[in-house]
């Protein structure tokens, strides 16, 4: 696709490159990069919505406060519904995950933005921290009884060992699917949008067609950004439920 002079170059993956903000070629552990910038913006967005929005503490909420209350109530209700009331003590952690993923996804849709959640490094750390926390929590709360999660009592006895193997495999696949689902959805959408945008630049007068396609795709991506944040959070709740109540 890329030619020498770059005019027809469609480089859908360039947007995902991690690069230092203030010069230099190497990306060290503490280098301030575009990752730093967009994560900082995510923090600002979360603060704006959750702290500034609710600063009035109004009994009858303003618009900003309604949004903060809506986000609070949405996740609170989700935890309550999925894990039961005893899952609510993990509310701040799950809220952190949801807020981060949600705003990272949404901010990534701004043109020229860097989408932090399109990187496996980020989603894998999130998914692994959920996986490790939930597994440790399961053993701490239930002891060895946590292993009954893999022993399906309702199945015929002969099938149980086979099912146990399947359950264990599926348990360990969880962080993989959990992280790749999010990063894959983000990366694919942004790459496709970039490809269409590249067509628009290359097609001349017929640019209308890819622009319309990008517009439609953008709406879809907005939906995907929200849904993936929702899916990531609700899966976290589902895994948490297994740790709290390992019996089928």
């Amino acid at each position: 696709m890329a030619d020498a002079n770059g005019s027809l170059a469609i480089r859908p993956m360039d947007q995902f490159v991690v690069r230092p903000l203030f010069g230099g070629e190497t990306v060290g552990m503490f280098t301030i990069t575009n990752v730093t910038l967009w994560m900082a913006l995510t923090v600002l967005a979360v603060t704006a919505v959750m702290v500034l929005g609710a600063r009035g503490r109004a009994l009858v909420p303003t618009r900003g406060q309604s949004v903060a209350e809506l986000a609070y109530g949405f996740i609170y209700k989700m935890i309550e519904d999925v894990t039961g009331r005893d899952g609510l003590r993990f509310f701040p952690y799950i809220m952190t995950i949801f807020m981060f993923v949600f705003f990272a996804n949404i901010l990534g849709l701004i043109p020229w933005a860097f989408t932090t959640t399109s990187h496996f490094a980020v989603t894998a750390v999130l998914a692994l921290s959920v996986f490790i926390s939930v597994t440790v929590l399961g053993f701490v709360l239930n002891g060895a009884a946590f292993l009954r999660l893999f022993w399906v009592d309702s199945a015929p006895l002969a099938l149980r060992p086979i099912l146990a193997v399947i359950e264990i495999i599926s348990y360990f696949v969880r962080p993989v699917s959990h992280s790749i689902r999010l990063a894959g959805a983000m990366m694919a959408g942004h790459a496709v949008a970039k490809v269409f945008a590249g067509f628009a630049a290359a097609l001349g007068v017929a640019f209308v067609v890819p622009v319309l396609a990008v517009t439609a795709l953008y709406a879809l991506e907005l939906l995907v950004a929200v849904i993936q944040a929702y899916v990531f959070t609700i899966l976290t709740c589902v895994y948490l439920k297994d740790a709290l109540h390992p019996h089928h």
């Binding site: 995902f16 991690v18 060290g28 990752v35 994560m39 109004a58 609070y72 952190t96």
Partner: protein, 173 residues
């Protein structure tokens, strides 16, 4: 084809050299968001929601109280109305009984007076009748005497009187 850091080589997601950087900033970000949410945002929003639900509950309770008070007041009003009606009815009945009693006394008195007057009248009528009878008898006696004198018949006054009175009484009888 990639000559500088702005060009992607394959998938930048699989460029492991950037992993420490991303993971470091991710952890920093998550810790900051967690601290902001758990220290400031969530307690604040939670207290707003609790306060609101408390206010709503209190308002609903107050509304219940007012409603109960209103229905109590209505019951009291109805009872007062009922009592007033009963009282009025009683007063009317007493009035009616009093008037009836007065009326009865008056009627009795009137009846007695009428009876007395009737008796008096009858007595006087009888007197008049008696005196009339006497006058008739006397006129008859005198007439009889005059007639007998004219005819030259000598008769005992006493005999004439007896005969006339017998005749008058018999005629009257």
């Amino acid at each position: 084809m990639a000559t500088n850091t702005n060009d992607a080589v394959g998938m930048p997601q699989l460029d492991f050299s950037t992993f420490p950087n991303q993971i470091f900033w991710l952890v920093v970000t998550l810790v900051v968001i967690y601290l902001i949410l758990s220290r400031v945002a969530l307690p604040r929003i939670g207290s707003i929601l609790a306060e609101r639900s408390g206010t709503i509950t209190a308002d609903i309770d107050a509304a219940e109280t007012y409603k109960r008070q209103a229905s109590e007041a209505e019951a009291a009003y109805n009872k007062a109305l009922e009592d007033a009606r009963a009282q009025a009815h009683k007063i009317v009945e007493e009035m009616r009984a009093d008037i009836q009693a007065d009326l009865d006394v008056a009627i009795q008195k009137a009846d007695a007076e009428i009876a007395a007057r009737t008796a008096e009248s009858e007595r006087r009528i009888a007197e008049i009748r008696d005196s009339a009878n006497e006058a008739v008898e006397e006129v008859a006696r005198d007439t009889a005497r005059e007639i007998l004198a004219l005819f030259g018949v000598k008769a005992e006054d006493k005999a004439i009187d007896d005969s006339v009175s017998t005749r008058v009484k018999g005629g009257a009888a």
